[in-house]
């Protein structure tokens, strides 16, 4: 027989909380989950009254729970925030349709304005059109680089003050681990931050209100609240490296439930010895986005697309960038190199 709720001692417990080991009923769990997100928001002073906040919405469980809880807390505690949903449409036929439909239903359910920013309006190119130019082999370079910037560009376009994303505790722990494994000290130092300040004119501050929420609780919150979400990111999808890190963490967690919080704690308290070389963060001279080069990766890729030289920005053609961007003519050999596309 399932246990009784340890909080109200009246109702049937529906879950065992990974964070505390408590058995809670639905109502007590909802309350505890929401209050903890509220505490996170208040303790880190994530928002100021009067701000316009864009919620990055993918239609997946994390962003759906985020939208639901932000809407609820904004009303319960009078945060005074103007909330809106922002979604990115890469323009891949058939790929985003279901998740965008989910976001559109969320807009109705939560009565929040929704803005879908498309690659086409941000960059002038849909992913389908890019694939036609660059072939299937290279499209991931574009998708990754463009997606990273799409939210920022969308947010600037919509004039929101902040973006919040649905990253949860498991995601953050996974990222800490991956940055350790890759030796990426700069990212390791940044990745546990609950919010980023504006780092250039093209970059909108971001924050993670669900940073301390376990994935298990997010899934169960969505499940018991019967929230409408779409399984976008399959854990069986072949992002091999992250997949291993995730499996490793889950295995550890089954032996020691506090693993997730412990890793986040470690990440938060690391300090990098003075004298460790960090990449110099500059800004893109064209769009203002953070970039360690004179032009950011997405501006280089766009330049290549627009000039019919799709391989610019893919692989090792860096020597040619300056020449191309200062409009100097290319030799026939160089041009051939940048045009050839292997499917």
């Amino acid at each position: 027989m399932p246990a009784q709720c340890s909080s109200c001692t009246e109702k049937r417990a529906v879950l065992k909380r990974p964070k505390t080991g408590h058995s809670l009923c639905k109502e007590c769990f909802f309350w505890a989950f929401e209050e903890e997100v509220h505490q996170t928001i208040v303790a880190a002073e994530l928002f100021k009254s009067g701000e316009t906040v864009g919620i990055a919405a993918s239609g997946g469980k994390d962003s759906t729970v985020l939208a639901h809880v932000m809407k609820l807390l904004n009303e319960r505690y009078s945060y005074g925030l103007e909330l809106m949903l922002i979604s990115v449409d890469e323009g891949i036929t058939g790929y985003r349709d279901d998740s965008l439909e989910t976001v559109k239903r969320n807009q109705q359910q939560y009565e929040l304005p929704l803005k879908i920013v498309s690659y086409e309006e941000l960059y002038g190119w849909t992913m389908d059109a890019i694939v036609k130019q660059v072939g299937l082999k290279n499209n991931c370079t574009f998708c990754g680089v463009f997606r990273r910037q799409a939210l920022d560009r969308g947010a600037v376009m919509l004039k929101v003050d902040k973006i919040c994303t649905g990253h949860n505790a498991d995601d953050v722990a996974e990222t800490v681990l991956m940055n350790v494994l890759r030796g990426d000290i700069a990212r390791l130092r940044r990745c546990t931050a609950i919010s980023t300040s504006s780092e250039g004119e093209g970059v909108v501050p971001r924050c993670k209100p669900l940073k301390y929420a376990y994935e298990k609780e997010i899934v169960l919150y969505a499940y018991f609240k019967k929230l409408d979400y779409f399984s976008t990111e399959c854990i069986y999808s072949p992002n091999a490296y992250r997949g291993y890190a995730r499996t490793f963490l889950k295995d550890l967690e089954s032996i020691r439930p506090s693993t997730i919080m412990d890793i986040i704690h470690s990440g938060e308290n690391l300090s990098v010895r003075e004298g460790v070389k960090m990449p110099v963060q500059g800004t893109c001279s064209r769009c203002g986005y953070i970039s360690s080069q004179a032009l950011c990766k997405s501006c280089v890729l766009l330049e290549g697309l627009n000039r019919g030289l799709p391989k610019l920005g893919i692989g090792k053609h860096h020597r040619l960038h300056d020449k191309i961007l200062s409009q100097q003519p290319l030799t026939e050999k160089e041009e051939r190199k940048l045009k050839s596309v292997d499917f």
């Binding site: 027989m1 399932p2 246990a3 049937r12 417990a13 529906v14 879950l15 065992k16 058995s23 469980k61 994935e215 298990k216 899934v219 169960l220 499940y223 399984s231 990111e233 399959c234 854990i235 069986y236 995730r246 499996t247 889950k250 295995d251 967690e253 089954s254």
Partner: protein, 102 residues
């Protein structure tokens, strides 16, 4: 002797991909000498329903860590994991739901 049991299984959040994309399964577990428990049910699922990559679903004699199991709409971590007749399971990003069919 335990009588045959009707069980309603639900796989979701991507777990259904391991079951030919079929989310809901109404199955009858055959009668056997001892009562059915989760461990036996998992073996049964693996033998009769699972179509591919068992390592993504089971580990040892339990479900793979990260897959959430609900039995009658409650977290199975609350139970001593031998509930038999009615089971609901939901996966982390992958729900496996087993509900009473009666």
């Amino acid at each position: 002797m335990a009588a045959p049991i009707a069980v309603h299984l639900e796989f979701g959040g991507g777990a259904e991909l391991l079951f030919n994309g079929v989310k809901e399964h109404h199955v009858t577990l055959p009668s056997q000498s001892e009562p059915w428990d989760m461990k036996q049910l998992l073996v049964w699922i693996q033998r009769n329903l699972l179509k591919e990559r068992p390592e993504l679903f089971v580990q040892g004699d339990s479900v793979r860590p990260g897959i959430l199991v609900l039995i009658n709409d409650a977290d199975w971590e609350l139970m001593n994991q031998n509930a038999c007749a009615c089971l609901t399971a939901a996966g982390l990003d992958c729900s496996v739901g087993l509900k009473p069919a009666h």
